[in-house]
Each structure stands twice: as C-alpha cells, then as structure tokens.
C-alpha cells in the first residue's frame, strides 16, 4: 500500500521558541471519490495536517476531522506517530481549527483564513494551495469513511515519515555520522556505535532548515509498532464524567435559548403567526420569523419551547399537503414502468447481453424489494449556538463539515468568509446528518435579530420531522439460472443513485449483467445516511442472491462461494465468517441462520445472523461479522465500529420507518421511531482480515449487510421472504407452525 506521491506537499518550519512544525497538504487521489467531488481542479489541495514537536519533546498532531465516536482523534495521530517512531505517551491531539491555542500559533487561522496570518515560511512552498482550498471549502469533511483512507494514508503517515527523515538528517549532520547508523525510537534518535541518544526536540531547529524529502519512505505493515495496536482513545475519559462538551453544552455569557418549528410539509413557507398568547409571558424575549419557520427566543429552553407550542402557525400551501406514503410508492412504480417502457433507464453496469440469456435459461426468477425512508435520529438533537456582533458571526456546533457551514452562513448573511468562525464541538452522533448546515443557517438568522448569543435547540420531534432522509426505494430484479443453478444473467432496475457508486454492484461471476436506474421526483429531502446507497442495495442484492440460492436448491453460503471465483478477497471473508459461525452446524428448533456479503467504502464485510422465533416474536441471538478493511489501524476501534454499524443497521431493519402523511413525516419521537435497546442487542463477534490492500473505512461498512443477513435468517426459520422493510410490519411464524 502507499501510492501517495505527487499528492502531498510537505513543508517545515520552526516557531518562536524552537518548536518544529511540519505541514502536509494533499491533493485529491482518484481513490477518494467523495473527496474528489469537492475539488474544482488539480491545483487545489483538499486537506492538510500539522505536527509540532515542542522543545520538551511532546508532539502535537492536528487532526482536521470531527470526533463523532469513530475514534478518528486517536487513530489518525497513531498513523503519524508510528511513521515518526514517536513515543505514543507523549502524543497530544488537537482538532483543527477551533482551538484558541492553535489559532495563536497563526497556523490554524492561516490555513482557514488565508494569507493574512499565514506563516511566511509556509507560503513559499505551499503557495496558493491553501487559499484556493478555503474558497472551495473542500476541506475538513468528516464522512464517507474517508478519514483513515484519505487523511490518514496521504497526510498523517507522510507527515510522520517526513518529520523523521529531516530529524535523522539533522542528527546525522550534527553528530557527523552516516544517517544509516542512526535509529529513531520512542521520540529519541540513537547512534549506538558512539552511545549517543537525544530527544527529537534537540534536532528540531536544525531539521527545520533542511529541505524536506519529496518522498519519505513509508513503513510496510511488518514495521508498524503503533498502527495495528489499540491504545485507549483520547476522547473517552471526558465522556464518562460529564465533562465532554457537545454542541448542545456550549455556554456563553448572556446567552439566551431558542426553540423552533419549521413547516411540517417540506418546502412550505411561513404565512402567518399568531403570537398574542405569549406577548406577556415572563422570560420570552422575541419571536423570530424565518422563511419557513418560527423561533421563540427566551431566557431558558423550556420557556422558549413551551411558548412556541402555544403559537398558532399557518404555512403557505405547496400542493404536497395531500401526499401520502402510498402515493409515493405508486409514483415510484409508475416512473419505473415508464422508464422501462421508454427505455429511459440510466445505465450503471452493462456486461454481455441479458436479453439473450433469458432465452437459454433453465429457470428465470424475478423479485421486487422495497425499503422505507429513514431518519438519522442522532442522540443529540440538532442544535447550534450563534453570536453575531456587527459583521462578525461566531458559531458553536458539532459539524461533519465546519468550513462548509462557515461558507453557507457567510453566503446567507452576506458576510465575508473570514468573519464567520465555526467552533466545532463533539458530535452527539453524526451518521451523515451533521454534514447538513440547516441548523447553523437557522441559528445565524435568529442571532442576527438580537445582540446576544442564542443557543438554538431542536426538539426531538423537530429533529425527526426536519431531517434529510435515506430515501424510500424500490428495486426490481430478474435473473436467469442454468441447469446447475448458476446465474447466467442479472438484471436490476431501481431508483436514484448517489454514493458509493459500487453500492448496487455484485461481486459474483455473472457474464450478463444489466444494472440501471431511474429517477422519481418527490418533495422529501434526501440526505447521506450511514453507508448511503449501500444501506439499501445490500438488502436488495443479497436478499435476491439468497432467493436465487433457494430457487437453485443450493446452500446459500455454498451458492455464493461457488460464484465468487473472480473475487478472492470476498471469498476469504465469506469463508471466514462461515467458519467462525459454524455455518454447517445444526440449529435448535425455531432458529434460523442467514448470510450476506457486501463491500462498501473499501471494506468487505460478511455477516451471519442467528435468530430464534419465540411465539411470533423475533430474537436476534448472534451476529458473526468478518471484515477485510485492508488493514485495521486500531483493531479495537474497528471492532467497535463494526458493532455500531450492525446495531444501527439492525435498528433500521427491524423498526426503521419514516412514512409520509399529508405531505409531512408521521413519526415524531422514539416511541414511534423505535430503536434497538439493550435487551434486543445481539452478541456480536468481529473477525478482521488484514489483507494489506488499500485501507477501507470503518464507520459505515457493517451497516449494509445486517438487513439481508437477518431477512435471510428469517426465511430460514419461517419460510417467509422479507421483501419489504422494516421487519416489524411482518408477522413471523416459525416453520413448524406454518407447516404444522
């Protein structure tokens, strides 16, 4: 692994006081599609990181990604520290750029705000790269499982290796010994022959004067000392004693609180507000009218929320007030059919000729699947604190895209970008939701009406009803099987296509494939939802694959493995999960077992689920998960992400359903948008294959495969094929009852 060259720009410098600073700016690589889309042209850098070796030999790593529980504030410094051969216990982490101390070094502000406060020594080498980036706002996205894959591989490791190279060179010059005789370990450089050993910091000033290597050598996995281990995460201690500050916890002098209600029907504008009821309510400060919402500012959130609930609001009609969920599915079917009739489907994959294969098939099989809309339901409801003084706006928020938020707010208020500052806080769950800037825009517009800071907090009901939703979808399949039951043709037609592009693609050896999609316009806002398109396509393709196995009268595991002959990585993961779950073992009565395999964000995950039908209810006992992420840099963290993604996907498979009633979201809170809880949480076992392929993501890839594995297990136990999620809408009876 390691094709990073020509994507990294390395700079060194020394700060007053003698600390060595290394900066790396990186350009987009063709492997990071999500990041690539944010770049206008080749001269722009996407992301940059810094490391500082202080005179006391402590090392500070600046991480340009938000911590939302995925451990990135620990894993990325590990990647840098390992290449640097640093002492892990002296590593400090800092998230760019909110920290005041960091800004004081003129680096944080420099890389955000442009040349004004940019250290001169950096401008020479890095040139205008950073500046174009700030205009483009392609920086600092946390999502797409990209942190390790992109920032880690291209920037963190390169920075660590470059720092080590210049430090070794400086030591070699200083001691006048060949560089080959020097070793770096635990933040010290040692020359064994002369029995000399000095901390990195000793050579910092000298190192800064050297020209940095264009291509520092990166370690191979056998040389890793920190990568591949599981040190304790930096963010956990403050998350067990209540001291971690999330966006909602920010407190400012003179701050007031706002509650908000936006038009329930998406796209509707505010028509009128009767606020006579709260004119004299103690503690109520102001009623703010936004284009599509009303906010009440008060001395406390409870006062604001209670007052808001007494207002009589009227919204303009959009024509969508009569839209029901059934209408949306009906429209989907019409649009799918129209595309098929007119041949207007958009091509995704075309291999061979499916039409010819239908003729020669021993068997044909067709199926259609449906999934509903899903909300993110992060534990921390959307919130943002804003303070506007004159032409300057400060925001405190947990964001997956802080600079994007700053840009949107600057545009909305017509402020200069450099006068909008986002102080990023811990995210109480992200899952894609916190990449959307809607709440920051609302907070800024509300704060513009007053001269004190305002903390805007959404109620859970608002959070549920004003989300950007994983879309409802329909996916249709037709397959041809030969005499042996092998698939000779695979046709799939579905709606919409976002990310990742490979979500509907299959790893199986099928000579004739036609995968295509159509559009169907609705008024429901779409958003990135953990694993994005894979969250549904794994359910579609792996359920269909299971149906084909049963049609061919084959064992579902064997059927998959026999058709993975051109996908050795997949085969290895599939075999591992089957072995660990003891696939061939007989299950007790009323139990069922299901399997799935799916690749997303560069990581292949196979899952086997074991369930039991007790009376007519479902008990998910165990999930065995095997994953090939290329390399798990923090195995314990990777396992926790697999567990997390599985519970998130399980919740959606069992219960997740946002439905549209009268143009608006019908669900409102956790009583009608149910979550998997402790007593329903299965045992999860994770097994990792370090294949040394390019690293894949951790945050998303286990979410897609749980729904099909579960549906396949339900079929095994009951004979009922789940073609529509969620499972709560189906009545389950064990096979004995069905047959008996």
């Amino acid at each position: 692994m390691g094709k990073w060259t020509r994507r990294a720009f390395i700079t060194t410098g020394v700060l007053s006081g003698g600390a060595l600073v290394i900066g790396v700016a990186i350009r987009p690589g063709n492997r990071a599609n999500k990041v690539k889309g944010m770049i206008a042209n080749d001269t722009e850098s996407v992301i940059n990181i810094w490391l500082k070796i202080a005179t006391d030999n402590t090392i500070t790593v600046v991480v340009p990604h938000a911590e939302m529980g995925q451990g990135v504030h620990t894993t990325l410094p590990m990647m840098l520290a390992d290449e640097l051969d640093a002492d892990w216990t002296t590593i400090r982490m800092m998230e760019a750029p909110g920290d005041a101390q960091y800004a004081n070094y003129a680096l944080g502000k420099g890389f955000i705000l442009g040349e004004k406060e940019f250290p001169a020594f950096l401008i020479d080498t890095v040139d205008g790269l950073f500046l174009t980036v700030t205009k483009n706002m392609g920086l600092q996205i946390t999502g797409g499982s990209a942190s390790v894959r992109f920032t880690g591989m291209y920037a963190m490791r390169v920075a660590g290796a470059a720092a080590k190279a210049v430090l070794l060179q400086a030591a070699s010059d200083e001691w006048k010994v060949p560089i080959e005789e020097l070793t770096a370990k635990d933040s010290y450089i040692t020359h064994t022959a002369s029995n000399r050993s000095e901390p990195f910091a000793t050579f910092a000033a000298k190192a800064a004067e050297l020209s940095q290597p264009a291509k520092p050598r990166l370690k191979v996995s056998e040389e890793f000392t920190i990568m591949g281990t599981s040190p304790k995460r930096f963010d956990i201690p403050e998350k067990v004693d209540g001291t971690a500050i999330f966006g909602i916890d920010v407190s400012l002098p003179g701050m007031k609180y706002a509650a908000i209600k936006a038009a329930p029907v998406f796209g509707a504008k505010l028509k009128s507000v009767d606020d006579s009821m709260i004119k004299n309510t103690p503690g109520v400060q102001k009623v703010v009218h936004l284009e599509n919402a009303v906010a009440v500012i008060a001395d406390g959130y409870w006062i604001a929320k209670t007052a808001l609930d007494t207002l009589t609001l009227e919204f303009e009609k959009t024509g969508n007030e009569t839209v029901q969920q059934a209408d949306i599915y009906a429209k989907y079917l019409v649009d799918l059919k129209a595309a098929e009739t007119n041949g207007k489907e958009k091509k995704d994959v075309k291999k061979g000729h499916v039409e010819n294969a239908w003729q020669n098939a021993a068997q044909l099989f067709e199926a259609e699947y449906r999934v509903p809309y899903l909300a993110h339901a992060t534990m921390e409801p959307m919130n943002c604190t804003a303070h506007i003084i004159g032409e300057k706006c400060e925001l405190w928020v947990g964001s997956q895209n802080p600079l994007g938020f700053a840009k949107s707010v600057a545009d909305a208020l017509d402020f200069d970008l450099e006068n909008v500052v986002v102080h990023n806080q811990y995210l109480g769950g992200g899952f894609g939701r916190r990449s959307f800037d809607d709440v920051a825009l609302q907070a800024a517009r509300i704060a513009k009406e007053v001269d004190y800071p305002v903390k805007l907090i959404w109620s859970r009901e608002e959070d549920m009803r004003q989300d950007f939703y994983r879309e409802a979808n329909i996916s249709r399949f037709k397959a041809a099987l030969d005499e042996d039951g092998r698939i000779t043709a695979w046709k799939n037609h579905f709606l919409f296509k976002h990310d990742p592009i490979e979500a509907p693609h299959i790893p199986y050896d099928v000579a004739n494939q036609l995968i295509h999609y159509s559009e169907s316009e609705t008024h429901i806002p779409w958003g990135y939802w953990r694993s994005v398109d894979s969250s549904m396509h794994a359910f579609f393709t792996e359920s269909f694959m299971d149906e084909l196995a049963h049609t061919a009268k084959k064992d579902p595991y064997q059927y998959r493995r026999e058709q993975l002959t051109n996908a050795p990585r997949f085969l290895k993961v599939l075999d591992l999960v089957a072995q660990k779950a003891d696939w061939a073992a007989t299950l007790p009565p009323n139990w069922g077992r299901g399997i799935s395999i799916h690749q997303s964000f560069g990581t292949i995950v196979a899952q086997i689920v074991e369930i039991e039908i007790i009376e007519d209810s479902l008990k998910v006992h165990r999930v065995v998960c095997a994953a090939d992420p290329g390399f798990a840099f923090h195995p314990n963290g990777f396992e926790s992400q697999m567990e997390s993604g599985i519970i998130y996907g399980l919740t959606a498979a069992l219960y997740g359903e946002i439905s549209i009633e009268d143009g608006a979201v019908a669900q409102s809170n956790f009583h009608d948008y149910q979550m998997v809880r402790m007593d329903e949480s299965p045992i999860i076992e994770t097994y990792i294959i370090n294949s040394d392929n390019w690293p894949g993501g951790g945050g998303e890839p286990s979410t897609p495969g749980i729904a099909p594995a579960l549906a396949n297990a339900i079929y095994d136990a009951t004979g009922l094929r789940i073609r529509e999620l969620p499972i709560k809408n189906h009545t389950l009876k064990a096979r004995e009852h069905v047959l008996g």
Binding site: M68, G69, Q70, G71, S230, K232, R233, D235, I236, P237, K239, V240, D241, G242, T243, A244, I245, F246, I248, D249, S251, G300, Y301, W302, I303, A377, T378, M379, E380, P381, Y426, L427, G428, G429, G430, F431, I457, S459, R460, N636, G637, S640, E643, S644, G645, I646, I647, Y648, L650, T651, N669, F670, H671, M675, V676, R677, M678, D679, S681, I684
Partner: protein, 163 residues
C-alpha cells in the same frame, strides 16, 4: 428554591414546573445530563433522586426539593478519583459519540446500588430505558460486569480489613 445536587446546595429561581433537566443544564451548569427526547423514552437525562433513577426531562424541578439529586458529575468519590463504573467504561472503551453515556452510567449506577451481582438479564431489564444510537450495548454490559466485580473485590478487601 434550594436544590441539593451532588451534596452541594444550589439556589435557583425558576418556575416550579420546569423540568429538572433544564434547571441542571442552564441554571446549575451541570451539562453532563443530556437532552435526548423530552418524553422519557431515551434515558439520556437519567439522574437519581435519593438514589432512584428518574428521567430529568419529565421530572418537574419541585419534585427534587428536599431530595438528594445525583448527576454524572457527582458519582466519583473525589475529584481525583473515578467511580468503578467510570473506570470500567474506560477499560472496556465503551463510549463512541458519548452523548448517551451519562444516562447509561447513571442507570447502571442505580442498578449496582440494589444489585451487586447483576446477571445479563438484570442488566437488560435495568438498562432497556437507555438508548444508544452508536450501539455500544455489548460494551456497556461488559462495563457493568467489570464494575460489579471491582466493587465486590473492594468490598471483600474492606471486610478483610475490618475482619
């Protein structure tokens, strides 16, 4: 009104119907207790009144008068020492985003006060009111077992000391 929170007196002036949650967060500066749903469904706001776990989002502040309120900020034995549950949470690397964990720990804390050797079923029962969107349930369970074992060994040591 005067509230006793984590053995400290707080004087607050609020409407008596205000949920304890907002008083803790906005008047007492105790933001470790989180807002999650507002209807007692998620457990993120779990605190204890006289050792009994309650949902602070549904508890009017006047229900806390003359009672001892305990929040996540108040369970550690001292400012330099963590509670066994907090240590166990670090050992098992339980939190991810961490937002629900104050409530999780407060529910677990209440459980261990009445049951020093909880079974998996006991834990399921006591913890089912607390949602974790990051799905850290299996680690929470491990954390509770670890803390229970730790508390038991401390208790044994104490008994031996006194024996």
């Amino acid at each position: 009104m005067i509230l006793v929170i984590n053995d400290q007196d707080y004087t607050v002036q609020v409407d008596s119907a205000t949920p304890l949650l907002w008083v803790l967060r906005e008047h007492c500066g105790l933001t470790g207790t989180k807002f999650g749903c507002g209807i007692g469904q998620c457990g993120a706001c779990t605190v204890q009144l006289d050792g009994v776990p309650v949902r602070a989002c549904l508890t009017p502040v006047d229900a806390a008068i003359d009672k001892k309120v305990t929040t996540i900020e108040g369970i550690a034995p001292s400012s330099s020492e963590l509670h066994d549950l907090q240590r166990a949470w670090i050992e098992e690397q339980v939190p991810q985003c961490g937002y629900c964990q104050s409530g999780q720990i407060m529910s677990a804390h209440a459980l261990l006060q009445g049951n020093t050797e909880p079974t998996d079923a006991d834990i399921d029962q006591a913890m089912r009111g607390n949602i974790c969107r990051c799905g850290t349930y299996s680690r929470i369970k491990k954390g509770i077992h670890r803390a229970a074992a730790e508390l038991a060994s401390t208790a044994t040591t104490k008994m031996e000391d006194h024996g």
